[in-house]
């Protein structure tokens, strides 16, 4: 029918893009998210200085307010500097990179665990289902941040001290990933239970395909669209969880500060008048989490035909 149209033209003509164009909030969120992601990826090019390079730091530059020349060195910083003379804008850009990296990989981990367990529970049913879903039920009765702290604490205890800082980011990812898998598992289980009764699954069983092949090749592609929505919303949660953990001091190490670490540092100076050290990382985190969340909400509404 529209064979001569390119994929891009079809996308521009789709309901999906039409919905997107009609929602200014979504467009703004999308622009913010894309800008922040690009900044994080291109941090080396975008950031004025490298905040992790101790050689470029000058302690005399400490506590420079935004847009004002430093009293000693005369240098000016767009967003000011922190106590060690680190340019805040650069620190935020690099912190964004850590936050986004941890958030994204944690969501991918949570998605992998949740989708696998959900598929298994939904397809097998019986006691497999009962065991997996009861574990999920127990887990949601704890706040996920508590679970993350618990996993983080256990992992730190098990790791040799010299590896702790090196593996802190990995541990953080595992902790957040393990604490956010439940919504994925529940949704996928529900859709799987519907899909497995459909006749195309019977047809696959008829030619003698095994359960794992049916789950992965036939059912999985049909349960993924709600997963996309949950992944987006969970991304916002994971970024906030990372910031919370880092704020509590159990997350990203000071050598690799994330937005949460920057907020924790800034909070020490809030009442002594250096407001900018706290404010700018916090606003960045807020903008990122809010935009991702709004995008997720829009995606959920758009992909759910019953809400139209």
């Amino acid at each position: 029918m529209n064979g001569e149209k390119s994929a891009w033209q079809r996308f521009l003509a789709s309901d999906f893009f039409y919905d997107f164009k009609r929602s200014p909030v979504t467009i703004v969120s999308f622009v913010i998210v894309v800008t922040l992601i690009l900044m994080a990826i291109l941090a080396d090019l975008v950031a004025p200085t490298n905040p992790f390079d101790p050689g470029s730091l000058n302690l005399m530059n400490g506590f420079t307010p935004p847009m004002e020349p430093n009293a000693f060195t005369g240098e000016t910083f767009l967003l000011g500097t922190d106590d060690q003379g680190r340019d805040l804008l650069s620190a935020i850009i690099y912190g964004l990179r850590v936050s986004l990296f941890v958030g994204l990989t944690a969501v991918i981990l949570a998605m992998f665990i949740g989708v696998s367990l959900g598929l298994l529970a939904g397809y097998r049913g019986g006691w497999v289902d009962a065991v997996i879903m009861r574990i999920a039920d127990i887990q949601v009765t704890f706040p996920s941040i508590l679970i993350a702290v618990l996993i983080f604490g256990v992992a730190r205890g098990l790791l040799p001290p010299d590896l702790r800082d090196e593996l802190a980011i990995t541990v953080l990812i595992v902790a957040i990933g393990l604490s956010e898998w439940v919504p994925f598992a529940r949704t996928v289980r529900g859709t799987t239970m519907v899909e497995k009764e459909k006749e195309y699954v019977q047809a696959a069983r008829l030619i003698g395909l095994g359960s794992s092949q049916i789950m992965v090749r036939h059912i999985l592609p049909n349960v993924l669209s709600p997963v996309l929505v949950i992944a987006t919303i969970t991304l916002a949660l994971a970024i906030i969880a990372e910031a919370t953990l880092s704020f509590l001091g159990v997350g990203a190490p000071p050598t690799e500060p994330s937005l949460g670490t920057l907020i924790r540092i800034g909070q020490d100076f809030l009442f002594s008048g250096e407001w900018w050290i706290l404010l700018f990382p916090a606003v960045t985190l807020l903008a990122l989490a809010l935009s991702v969340n709004l995008l997720g909400d829009w995606l959920r509404d758009t992909l759910n035909p019953r809400l139209k």
Binding site: Y200, Q202, A204, L206
Partner: protein, 274 residues
């Protein structure tokens, strides 16, 4: 009489009991439903046997046991004398038997995976049973199958949602044919289609039976369809076979009250018979 499939004293009992804990607390006994109760019949090679009956009479349950999707709780399904549900068969033997049995499903909307292209849907049985060597042979066979059911080779690149109900049922039939089966169970293959499209699909099934010598087990509640398709008819009621006859004989002189009622309630066939 050369029978392809013989069904002997088939039983299916479903456990409808509440969960164990609820039974213990409320002191309720276990509950069972005999969906299929001591059903026996055979189908001659190259012929069509129709099972008719109201909803819940056990037609589809028998169909699923006949192709091995469901294990009977009693009785046997013999394919060319071999017990389909015999646990002692080797994997290779089971595979060989399974390859000869296929099914066309009721809903043309649920029976094709919506995320797969038609070409992949048809190629899957070819790969699983290793019927073709290499991608070229596979593609050639897929095109051949599509043409066999009256679609065009270029349809292989399209997705199921791009087709109408009748066309999808043709794709379903092509998939069933892919593994070169001898026996196809048609589980109400036309009940979701328009009357005009129904006739086309039925004609296709008949033509394929003539060309390929297929044996059909036809599940339906539509006596008009039965009359066109079936050589023999079995009437099911609450899981029991109440009557079994050659098609014309059953419609002209039904023996049981239940069959008479079924025929009377089918408007088209009633007019034709009177």
């Amino acid at each position: 009489m050369d029978e392809f499939i013989r069904i002997e004293h088939l039983n299916q009992r479903f456990d409808l009991s509440e969960p164990w804990l609820a039974r213990m607390i409320y002191r309720r006994p276990k509950k069972f439903l005999d969906a299929v109760d001591d059903v026996s019949f055979g189908i001659e090679r190259g012929k069509t046997y129709a099972l008719v009956g109201e909803s819940g009479s056990g037609k589809s349950t028998i169909a699923r046991m006949a192709v091995g999707l469901l294990t009977p709780t009693g009785g046997r399904v013999l394919i060319d004398g071999q017990d389909l549900h015999d646990g002692s068969l080797s994997v290779a033997e089971q595979r060989r038997i399974r390859q000869r049995l296929q099914m066309v499903f009721q809903s043309p909307y649920a029976s094709l995976n919506p995320r797969w292209r038609v070409g992949s849907i048809l190629a899957e049985p070819l790969r699983v049973f290793r019927l073709v060597d290499g991608p070229q042979a596979e593609q050639a066979r897929v095109h051949e199958l599509l043409e066999q059911v009256g679609l065009s080779a270029s349809d292989a690149r399209r997705f199921p949602h791009e087709f109408s109900g009748g066309q999808r049922q043709r794709i379903s039939i092509a998939r069933a044919l892919a593994s070169k089966p001898d026996f196809i169970v048609c589980d109400e293959p036309t009940s979701a289609l328009d009357v005009s499209v129904q006739a086309q699909v039925l004609n296709l099934l008949k033509q394929l039976q003539r060309d390929l010598g297929l044996t059909y087990l036809f599940i339906t509640h539509d006596l008009a369809v039965v009359r066109v398709m079936a050589h023999r008819i079995g009437v099911l009621k609450s899981g029991k076979l109440v009557e079994e006859q050659a098609t014309e004989k059953l419609i002209e002189s039904p023996q049981s009250d239940y069959t008479r009622m079924l025929i009377r309630s089918a408007p088209r066939i009633h007019r034709a018979a009177s």
